[in-house]
Symmetry: C2
Subunit: 501 residues, 2 copies
Amino acid sequence: MADGDFGSQKDCFSAKMALALVLISLLIFLKQPIQELSQHSVWAILTVVVVFEFSIGATLSKGFNRGLGTLSAGGLALAMAELSQLAGEWEEIVIIISIFVIGFFATYAKLYPTLKPYEYGFRVFLLTYCFITVSGYRTGEFIHTAVTRFLLIALGAGVSLVVNICIYPIWAGEDLHNLVAKNFMNVATSLEGCVKGYLNCVEYERVPSKILNYQASDDPVYSGYRSAVESTSQEEALMGFAIWEPPHGPYKSLNYPWKNYAKVNGALRHCAFMVMALHGCILSEIQAPPERRQVFRQELQRVGAEGARVLRELGSKVKKMEKLGHVDILYEIHDAAEELQNKIDRKSYLLVNAESWEIGNRPHTVAEPQDLINFDNEEHNVLAHKSLSQPVLDLRSVNISSSWDVPKTIVGVNPAVAPSPASKDFLNKQISWNARGSFIADPIPQLEESKTYENASALSLATFTSLLIEFVARLQNVVDAFEELSEKANFKEPDELLAAA
Amino acid sequence: MADGDFGSQKDCFSAKMALALVLISLLIFLKQPIQELSQHSVWAILTVVVVFEFSIGATLSKGFNRGLGTLSAGGLALAMAELSQLAGEWEEIVIIISIFVIGFFATYAKLYPTLKPYEYGFRVFLLTYCFITVSGYRTGEFIHTAVTRFLLIALGAGVSLVVNICIYPIWAGEDLHNLVAKNFMNVATSLEGCVKGYLNCVEYERVPSKILNYQASDDPVYSGYRSAVESTSQEEALMGFAIWEPPHGPYKSLNYPWKNYAKVNGALRHCAFMVMALHGCILSEIQAPPERRQVFRQELQRVGAEGARVLRELGSKVKKMEKLGHVDILYEIHDAAEELQNKIDRKSYLLVNAESWEIGNRPHTVAEPQDLINFDNEEHNVLAHKSLSQPVLDLRSVNISSSWDVPKTIVGVNPAVAPSPASKDFLNKQISWNARGSFIADPIPQLEESKTYENASALSLATFTSLLIEFVARLQNVVDAFEELSEKANFKEPDELLAAA
């Protein structure tokens, strides 16, 4: 049923609505003998038009609002009618004043944020109160007006409910359930797209202004996470309706934990923000050099693929209403993240620009002769560092073990710079250099803006990997939220499935 | 007027609504002679209750929907009445069928996304059509029913409009305008909070689950950007109403560019996502060591402060409807970002963990004797690198020029490792070491997860700065959107202000 096929849902709903209207019209035609009732037929039609909403929850919620508003306003109007009659010749004025006072407070309450779901109830309340008071005053038949009106509204609401619930019901809860599952898939697609795009050095020649202004766009990577991020209001509306729905289909328990669906969605959104930030690295003008990205290709790809897999699996588990089971769903991705992290640890020199490093010694270490080595020319080191990373970069792969087979025996061949105990300190100072120049006056030249951003390019790769790792960290939270949901909603055990197979 | 003071707006609106209800009731009382009109008084009251919306734009839009729906449905119902009379004894069936067909198509159209703003119009259309057909069939007075109904609806709508527009009008456009200005201030507050929090090493002992699930929370840093991000639906609603409003107050031109307000808001949101990512660095379990953050304190602070200043200035310019003028509003922040970037260039070794670097030589360079230096013990280098960063870290400041005053004459004191021409290559290889170990089989030990995240800590600082710089880059887009708005909306020149002062 309602397999996310919105088109057929729409067809169905339209037919149901038309059917309800036909039914209420027929009832009015048939009831012609009861002339009086049918004189007020407008109330029944009005109720059907207004109360008949897309989902069962919305229909019930509106019906409840309408019923409560009508009843309470009716009671109040009758009481006020008695009171106003006591006022004798001031009756009209008392009625007018009561309308003002009640209009004021009902409107004020309606605007109160926590009473938002009952907004419609307040409208009905106001309408009923004014109508009964005014028409009752005119005809003197307060009670009669109120009762007729209430009966016809009940008739309209009854027809709406029966048609809406009995024929192909559309449940807000089911839509919420599907929305959450769909969001998982969307974020997974975005994540894959981001990692793939980043490794393939996809660049936007001109970032679409729709993305820059956060409007809807066709870009699949963008629309994937955007839909998850933007579903807040839809989710809130669906949740507000779902709690009105009686237990049905797979949502058997009373007090079904719809809030936990929203919580899972929120946790997923928290992850989606990281995917958004990853996409930001692709959108950015500041781009890491392609060859450096390739160094981490395998690891990035693995984390991306594993991340998408975890999201898809969670999504399909939400969809199938299945518990996680005993396998740690995050094991693989944590492993992949560790691998990426280790690679970064080993190659983090690729993530920074060594051109302008300033590293110095503490004065008190200037004691041993080796410490006195200082180069006033930074160029040396820059070049040195640059060529350090060269070999790795040029090979464009980590599978370069063979090229590295420098025989172990070579170690320590040159005694002038022999390693072993003393070399520790020695090396220490050897690599250091004094960037004193940078500290004299205001040494920073006004670089062009573009230069600044260019320099940031290598760091951009660091940002991408670090955001990806943060994404992995946030997955834990999604899994926690999912586990809470699967407990509270009493999802089935995956083992049962296996046993059944 | 309506200086963002929502409380007083609410008071006022409630009083207006009550007044409109009183007026319509009085009209019905007074019109008692015209018995027939007042028999249908419910339509006038209903119209007031339904059409009287918070803002002028919403009232006009609803009034228009109601008018159009009533008129078209009335016309259609009359035409159908004529037709059905031709059907003779099949009249009833023709009417029922027409109700079904019209009910189906009107409902279907209503669900169409692009017709969403006219949803209310379709409802009214349905209601009117059914009511006129049914009650007309009963009484045979189709035209009379339709005309009476239309007159009373016009009366109700007239009272609503006059009261709503003439007394303390609340404009959706003005609310949209204020919303955009407020969002600027909120994002600025968040940005400042993020940078401050990051430098003060604010850590969440336990990240509030509200943040993890992206629910509203009191955290000022979080709620600042969240309100800007979450204002999408509010903004869309306000924009939908604002375009209905006639020129008024400072929004003088016809076709006032309300869409550009939304565009500015979208561009701001695109920036706010970066602030969100910055906040993510604070929320993260992966935290950069405090002492390293201090190294960049001055620069980060400056960028943060300048960023907040730019946002606040843009916000106040939106508020005051003032053009940018000839001063480059981004000059200072670009300068600050460059300074930060330069600092990073010089100190990027602080952003990476040198513990596990693997840097090797290309095989073909293994020709000169110096190249043959290889250490099989990585420890050396780890320690070496570690102590490199030590001095800078411990001084916790960049103003450490005096401590660095190692006399220049010391350079080259030790001839064994003399610099000058040869030393270039020499150094190059000296620093290198062979991490061959890592390439044999699967060399990466299964580190604990926590260790992995710990290693990422230094990179987290790189991420923070890099996101901050990306934030600065995105500001350009906000400024562009603002300039487009200020042109199209004909904001006043700031010079005029100066001249007037």
